[in-house]
Symmetry: C2
Subunit: 309 residues, 2 copies
């Protein structure tokens, strides 16, 4: 790879805007693919309002099409997974022979989709633990956290993994490489499946789930189903992880997951990547997941009727 | 028992008002215990608006207290189960040595509550299949159905069972005696647990449950859990009953269960009698009911936060 990596950001909402702006501020070569916010960002740049300090980039490389952006070394994919159907036609103009595709999206199935269309060799993934909101065109609020765990879709970290991690670290992001990306995805789902799910189906924030004995029991049983599913698929997570997840959730208080916020705001919910694909993989491995299956049925219906005009 | 039975109606909302008015119109000796609607009914009587023909009773026996009503031969209990805590103090003034207590309430646990306080010997139950709404003080709309299945809490029908059935039949109600009341309650729950539950947790009417493959599968799996629970408790329901319940639901179209209507109108939902008590009994019998347990956790939280001011 070259001295400096050329980054392309696909999906420049809150997530792509935040990480892209941090990279660009640190001197990285970053190009943003935008649609709705293009004019505003071309005129006013990108603004990040953060508890770690606000900053403004008056000029960024904002492109209106993948052709205009052209080949990149690393494509950061930060689209909502509900828009994944555009990727097969959106990505090709961004590809050089060694281009890496790094999906920062939620849940399962995103790496697989990219691998199917563009070859597993190109695919990397990142798990974001960050609270963001795009409050206006080109304006992102950062409420907290920001760690990023980056790994290869297949196999342990490579040189390119470490180069990307280093670029993020230079940009002030708490980034690290992970040995098994998909294990980490399942570990994240141990929390997201119950808490994001009960946030919608029971209209319960984190404190409400924890304080209601029936809901906390339901959350723990969902976690056990996720851990059993991961185990059957070959990703080992220790059962003590359930207690750990419950304990680490108490300080979150009345935190609402991004899915609950999206749902309550009438926006699309990533039902398939967070619940549907894990359920399909669990089934294919012969895991018993009655609660996950039931929750997925509720959420897919609730999301479908909420989306309707 | 005497020539003519003296009926007392406890809880004169839609259910008590409808069945009581039908009985009174047919010449039965009926006394209504009322609180909120007392003045209106004393002044204007009871009005039933029904597809079977409207009728108006300008004068009914409306009492403001159990003491004023005094001992009855048959007490029809038509309170919402969420008010069951008042029964132990409300009932005693209505009791003569042979008074029968006939609960028309939803779900499980109502006969047991009465038996605990007043002796199992007194207790009868009725299953109502009727669509009603109290639209104003003393005014009940009857949208359809109206059959009533009456049985003894313990054992097969007795003479008194047949006398009450006959009185209801004389009043134009499609009433019959059932051999095993509690089996019938479980059979009714095979429908109510999934359809009333998904009506709230998935905001889905009957047609939406049937048309969404995930929700219909969830409904069928819930039905199977209810049937397995009933079987473990000694109440046999054949597995073909699931297909039958699905088939008979198609003509209902966009019907919303009473629980869904109550929930969406911000009224109390009978969570414990329809889901909580069946779940407790299923557990005590060692039945596996992961979906019912999960659904109950969602509903009890949703109902609790909806009730909050």
């Amino acid at each position: 790879m070259k001295e400096q990596l050329r980054y392309g950001i696909v999906g420049s909402g809150a997530l792509g805007g935040y990480y892209g702006a941090k990279l660009a501020r640190s001197g990285a070569d970053v190009h943003f693919l935008m649609r709705g916010d293009l004019d505003a960002v071309r005129r006013h740049g990108l603004t990040i309002r953060s508890k770690d300090g606000d900053f403004h980039l008056p000029q960024v490389n904002a492109c209106g099409s993948a052709e205009e952006m052209g080949p990149c070394d690393v494509v950061l994919i930060a689209l909502k997974t509900t828009s994944n159907a555009v990727l097969p036609t959106l990505i090709p103009p961004l590809l050089a022979p060694d281009t890496a595709l790094l999906t920062l999206q939620n849940g399962l199935g995103n790496e697989e989709l990219l691998a199917r269309h563009f070859g597993a060799r190109r695919v990397m993934g990142g798990l974001c633990f960050v609270c963001l909101n795009r409050t206006a065109p080109g304006v992102v609020e950062h409420y907290g956290h920001g760690t990023l765990s980056i790994g290869e879709f297949k196999g342990p970290p490579q040189d390119r993994t470490m180069r990307v991690v280093t670029d993020f670290q230079r940009a002030g992001i708490d980034a690290k490489a992970v040995q098994s990306l998909i294990t980490e995805r399942w570990r994240k789902l141990v929390w997201n499946i119950p808490f994001n799910g009960l946030g919608i189906a029971a209209a319960a924030n984190v404190a409400q789930v924890l304080n209601d004995p029936h809901l906390q029991a339901a959350a723990r049983l969902l976690m056990a189903e996720v851990i059993e599913s991961a185990a059957k698929l070959g990703y080992a997570i220790r059962p003590e992880f359930i207690d750990y997840q419950i304990e680490r959730s108490w300080p979150m208080g009345e935190y609402r997951s991004s899915s609950q916020i999206d749902y309550e705001a009438g926006r699309e919910v990533e039902v398939e990547s967070i619940w549907g694909e894990p359920l399909r993989q669990a089934r294919s491995a012969g895991a018993k997941t009655p609660r996950l299956e039931f929750l997925h049925a509720l959420l897919s219906h609730l999301a479908a009727i909420r989306k309707a005009p």
